[in-house]
Amino acid sequence: MTVKSIEVRGVSKAYGGVIANREISLEVEEGSITGLIGPNGSGKTTLFNSIVGYHPIDEGEILFEGQPIQKLKVQKIARLGLLRTFQQTRIYSKMNCVDNMLISIPHRTAGWRDMLTPYSADDLDRAKNLLEFVGLYEKRNLISGELSFGQQKLLEFAMALMNRPKVLLLDEPTAGINPTLINGLIDRLLLANSEFGITLFVIEHNMRVIMNLAEKVYCLAHGELLAAGPPNEIQNDQRVIDAYLGAH
């Protein structure tokens, strides 16, 4: 039996009169890499935001490891081990890369006293290793805001790994990254999944990437769940093709 990491049950979310998500239900299995695709404006990022507690949902239920989290706030959910990266990459742009990494250590059990302790040598070591992992070791002392967009994206990914999440929600990890670097990134995502045991839930537009990564793909259109299945099945699904080709 497979264990469900995230379960979304009948979630709806509307902004004013616009319905961004309508009764969406999906599951992400523990240890898997699951993809989420759909044309622009189909409600993918809204769903991500709902899962990580960015805004309250109108209807439905979201479970993380069997525990309902739709009422919890962002920080609480993050401390459970459910983390997200942003489509518009967000890093602490006035700090150097090492500090960006250090600040991202897990806060799951952090008490008042932890706030006033220095970082351990172990933390520093891990930070440097992970920077090496994404290829930013040489630039570790530069102010992160001055890195290129692609490098910032890699840094954000490394910061997420630093946090030792159980599940990582990635919002378009390859957008804006030089095509020649995409293969390297795919490898690192797969490694993160296989070596660090992190469940990945990925929004992606690049079909090639999602084919190489995901074991299961969900497709959204107009805020509703259109199709679900293994990537090659989804790729050939007529409804999905229609949705992408603008038959709406």
Partner: protein
């Protein structure tokens, strides 16, 4: 990590200067005492304003509240506050040495703890405000506090409270309060210096750079904000108590809640020296206070206009401040550089 790398001799020199100052310039002992208060103002303002990005225009609230708490404890220990204040400062409490210091120390302790708690409480309603709203909100708090104490008859209303008379010679009083201010500023600085070397320091920087991201990474933002502000309030409360006793008289508008003088000075000094750095506020405070004290009288009534112009010029043309300018000019000195010493072994863990 950002452990402060200042050579120890700088700190020692600073300490020695502080110790020598009252002997070298005995006539200016009061001004130098206030200089230390200014240093403390700037350093504690920068915890929130510079390091955390929460620009408060209302930190002076804690200065004033601390002053009132100290004063009320000092008076309340030995007489009834209501009748005493209603005499409108006509009589001053005269105490012996032991009673005076007992009251003073108890008052300062109450002020520091009271202000720290107050900061946490006010923070719960103010920390949801970001950017300029926080600045305006805290300004509103400071002005409200001023109005509140100004209309509260039990604490003397607009005419204030006279604090107990110092039981000794005026010279002795100046000495005592000089040392208290000096120790307070050094303690505040060393405490903040240590704070910035812990995880707390990086976490509040993270809140400054991108609070949404910090939340998304699970940082206890509210806890950090509350602690940061209560540290400021703790020291500000004590400084208020000291300043009130140096003046000998607590009154809401000019002494306890000088929103547009001290309240703005602390911001201006941090900006001048370079906000978000450890030494910037110290440098800014010293420069600002020394220049102000030595040139003030030559402005012939134009000094306040000059102050406004300084703030504008500072903010518009020199916002990075002295330290910020140095970091921009010599980034390598501050460790901002590509490290080409080769990559590490190991790679992925």
């Amino acid at each position: 990590m950002r452990r402060d790398k200042t050579p120890p001799w700088v700190l020692v020199a600073l300490l020695l200067a502080g110790i020598a100052a009252p002997f070298l310039f005995p006539a200016y002992i009061l001004q130098i005492a206030i200089l230390w208060i200014m240093v403390m103002f700037a350093v504690t303002w920068d915890i929130m304003g510079g390091q955390m990005g929460y620009n408060s225009l209302g930190n002076i609230t804690f200065f004033g509240v601390g002053m009132y708490i100290t004063g009320l404890v000092q008076v309340g220990l030995f007489t009834d506050i209501g009748p005493y204040t209603s005499a409108r400062g006509g009589e001053q409490l005269v105490l012996n040495h032991a009673d005076y210091f007992y009251g003073l120390l108890l008052g300062l302790a109450a002020a520091s703890v009271g202000c720290a708690i107050l900061a946490v409480l006010i923070g719960q309603t103010m920390f949801g405000l970001r950017g300029a709203y926080f600045a305006i909100g805290t300004l509103g708090i400071a002005l409200s506090a001023r109005e509140l104490f100004g209309t509260w008859e039990w604490v003397g209303g607009g005419s204030g409270i006279a604090l107990p008379v110092y039981p000794g010679y005026p010279d002795e009083k100046s000495q005592i309060f000089y040392w208290l201010c000096f120790v307070l500023a050094i303690l505040a600085f060393m405490f903040v210096r240590w704070l910035y070397s812990t995880r707390f320091g990086l976490a509040i920087n993270a809140i400054r750079d991108d609070e949404d991201k910090a939340e998304a990474m699970g940082i206890h933002t509210n806890r950090h904000k509350s602690f940061a502000w209560s540290v400021s309030a703790f020291f500000l409360g004590i400084s208020g108590g000291l300043f009130g006793n140096m003046t000998g008289f607590v009154e809401p508008a000019e002494v306890a809640f000088p929103v547009v003088t001290f309240g703005i000075f602390m911001v201006a000094m941090s900006l001048l020296g370079g906000k978000g750095t450890l030494w910037g506020p110290v440098i800014g405070a010293v420069l600002f206070h020394v220049v102000k004290e030595t040139t003030w009288t030559y402005f012939l009534g134009w000094q306040w206009i000059a102050l406004g112009v300084i703030i504008i010029v500072n903010v518009v043309f020199f916002q990075q401040g002295i330290m910020g300018w140095l970091i921009m000019k010599f980034p390598e000195r501050f460790g901002i550089a590509v490290d080409r010493s080769g990559s590490r072994d190991g790679g992925a863990q």
